[in-house]
């Protein structure tokens, strides 16, 4: 591709993916009245009221950010704790069994999880699992497990078998081998898996909506949705936009910090035949 066409192509993609975000930021700083007017016609269109409203609400948006963060951390830790041993077991399986298991995992990873939400609601009802962030992290981890196992097992598979064998000869037991040799070498895959799981848990809406009802336990997406539905007669677009902008910041920061590891982890092994 020529350099100029390439630039145009990239610009189009950037515009396509960034314009909703820019629109959201623009809306968050606008007064409700100005939103219905063409750009440039209203004089006092810029305002911080939306942000003030979101931040001064009781509980404030930080409460929800804290909830979402906690839920994300629980989900990520639980997922890794289960996916690492599962991946290790997976690569030790016989070849036919291994590829069969991988295919099944891939199928479940592609399964639209929203279809499970009624069943999960029933579970929450009959076993009293509602309104507890840690308990909510369990279905989240279960849903993240296929993808996590696929990424982690392919990274484990890339580690030369002699390294683990050398560790065996040195007298390291299974846990020591994992801790000292295998996990450090899986770092890129571990961080990209963590980020993907964290993002999933941060954005998840339908299950959180049904499992959480107490205001002080809500996660960010559910809280923002409540904001939108708080009045029968109008949708507070400005406040809604302000909340989403604030809610996106932590995720954006995490992604920027770990950008390199995410890309490394996802492309690991991609170059080998």
């Amino acid at each position: 591709m020529k350099n100029s066409t390439r630039k145009i192509f990239i610009s189009i993609i950037l515009f396509w993916s960034l314009s909703p975000l820019i629109w959201q930021i623009y809306t968050s700083f606008s007064t409700p009245a100005s939103l219905t007017e063409p750009i440039g016609t209203t004089l006092n269109r810029w305002t911080l009221d939306n942000y003030i409203q979101v931040l001064s609400a009781n509980p404030s948006i930080f409460r929800y950010i804290t909830n979402s963060t906690l839920l994300g951390v629980y989900t990520t830790l639980t997922t890794l704790l289960l996916a690492v041993p599962a991946s290790y077991a997976l690569i030790k399986l016989r070849k036919e069994l291994r590829s069969l298991t991988r295919s099944i995992l891939l199928l479940t990873a592609l399964f639209p999880y929203v279809l499970l939400f009624l069943a999960l609601l029933e579970l929450a009802k009959s076993y009293n699992l509602a309104n507890n962030l840690f308990l909510l992290s369990l279905p989240y981890s279960a849903l993240s497990m296929p993808l996590a196992i696929l990424i982690l097992s392919s990274s484990l598979n890339d580690i030369p078998i002699e390294l683990e064998e050398a560790a065996k000869m040195e007298g390291l037991n299974l846990l020591q081998r994992l801790r000292v040799v295998l996990l450090p070498l899986m770092k890129p895959a571990l961080s990209s898996t963590s980020i993907l799981v964290f993002i999933f848990s941060w954005n998840e809406y339908p299950i959180a909506l049904t499992w959480l009802s107490k205001t002080e336990q809500l996660t960010l997406p559910v809280a923002i949705a409540r904001l939108a539905g708080s009045s029968v007669y109008s949708v507070p677009y400005g406040a809604y936009a302000a909340a989403t902008v604030i809610g996106a910041i932590p995720l954006l920061m995490v992604t920027l910090v770990f950008q390199k590891q995410i890309v490394n982890g996802l492309t690991q092994g991609a170059l080998k035949g």
């Binding site: 064998e165 065996k168 007298g171």
Partner: protein, 324 residues
């Protein structure tokens, strides 16, 4: 200390990769397992290391059956073909890891690692990652790690194959004296006959998962028990022709000499090796290689002969040595 392997065999489904292999190695002996690729030499080593389980037979160290002992508890010092150094750990950490896992005190770890680092001339590299080392240095780290294991025996899986030819030759005497000094049984896997000849006190020739012959390098060379062994050992390769219906006769190139009353032959090609030269001759028995010193005067008309008692005769069907 004696390592003795008794009739071990390993199979994948119904196919035996190796079978009926029995080897005995004593303290201070270096036994080279030599054979073409795919003959099962690495498999044999993995069984002794405990990385794979044999399907039959037993392995003993000093009479103690270790066939079912897990590799973590086997006290075997192994050098892998790829060296298998932990890429995320420094040289020092690579060496101290095993010691600390096996419960050595901080004081002991310090003394032993600094001792081995100076023995291996690796002091300056101790804080480097393996990726920053040269091939020879990596090999020394791998060997140092095996030495720190306090092993009952050493297993070396083609430790030279990742080095270039020049370095290999330089390191050979060093490696030999170092491992002989340990006075432990050593098993050394290689596909390189020169390496086996130079290093080993005993050579085990494997072919198709079976032992062809066990003997000192000299015995193997001078007294091959099968056609395969005679062909596999010796450079330039041994000459062979069929003298009778069911017999293959072989003669080493250096045994052939010029003889006015011998077999008439014609010079096809000449290879010069400095001190020696190899002549490729066409005769009624087929093409024969003849090795002679390079200052020898090649006659206009070439006639060759050799002593009958230097010939080896093999049964064409079984490949086994026969006496006529």
């Amino acid at each position: 200390m004696t390592l003795s392997i008794n009739n071990i065999g390993k199979r994948i489904k119904r196919d035996w990769i190796i079978r009926n292999i029995s080897i005995e190695v004593n303290n201070g002996e270096i036994a080279a397992i030599l054979g073409p690729s795919g003959c099962g030499k690495s498999t044999t080593l993995r069984l002794i290391a405990g990385l794979d389980k044999p399907d039959e037979g037993n392995i003993y160290i000093d009479g103690v059956d270790i066939t079912n002992t897990p590799p973590m508890k086997r006290r075997v010092g192994m050098v892998f073909q790829s060296y298998a150094l932990f890429p995320h750990l420094t040289v020092h950490q690579n060496l101290s890891l095993g010691l600390s896992v096996r419960g050595a005190s901080a004081e002991e770890i310090k003394i032993r690692t600094s001792g081995i680092l100076s023995l291996m001339k690796l002091e300056e590299q101790q804080n480097s990652l393996p990726s920053m080392l040269s091939g020879g240095q990596r090999q020394r780290v791998a060997l140092a790690r095996a030495l720190l294991r306090d092993p009952l025996l050493f297993l070396l899986d083609e430790p030279m194959s990742n080095l270039d030819a020049q370095l290999r030759e330089d390191l050979r005497p060093e490696l030999r004296s170092l491992i002989l000094k340990q006075n432990k049984p050593v098993l050394y896997v290689t596909h390189d006959q020169h390496e086996a000849m130079a290093l080993a006190t005993k050579i085990v020739i494997l072919n198709n998962g079976q032992v062809e012959q066990i003997g000192t390098p000299k015995e193997i060379y001078q007294n091959p028990s099968s056609y395969f062994v005679s062909k596999f050992i010796g450079s330039p390769k041994i000459n062979s022709f069929s003298s009778k219906e069911s017999i293959i006769t072989a003669i080493r190139p250096e045994e052939i000499r010029f003889d006015p009353n011998g077999i008439p032959s014609e010079l096809i090609a000449k290879e010069w090796y400095g001190m020696n030269q190899v002549l490729l001759l066409s005769t009624k028995l087929g093409n024969l290689r003849m090795m002679c010193t390079s200052d020898v005067c090649i006659p206009q008309r070439i006639n060759i002969s050799w002593d009958k008692d230097k010939e080896f005769n093999f049964d064409r069907k079984t490949g086994k040595r026969i006496n006529i």
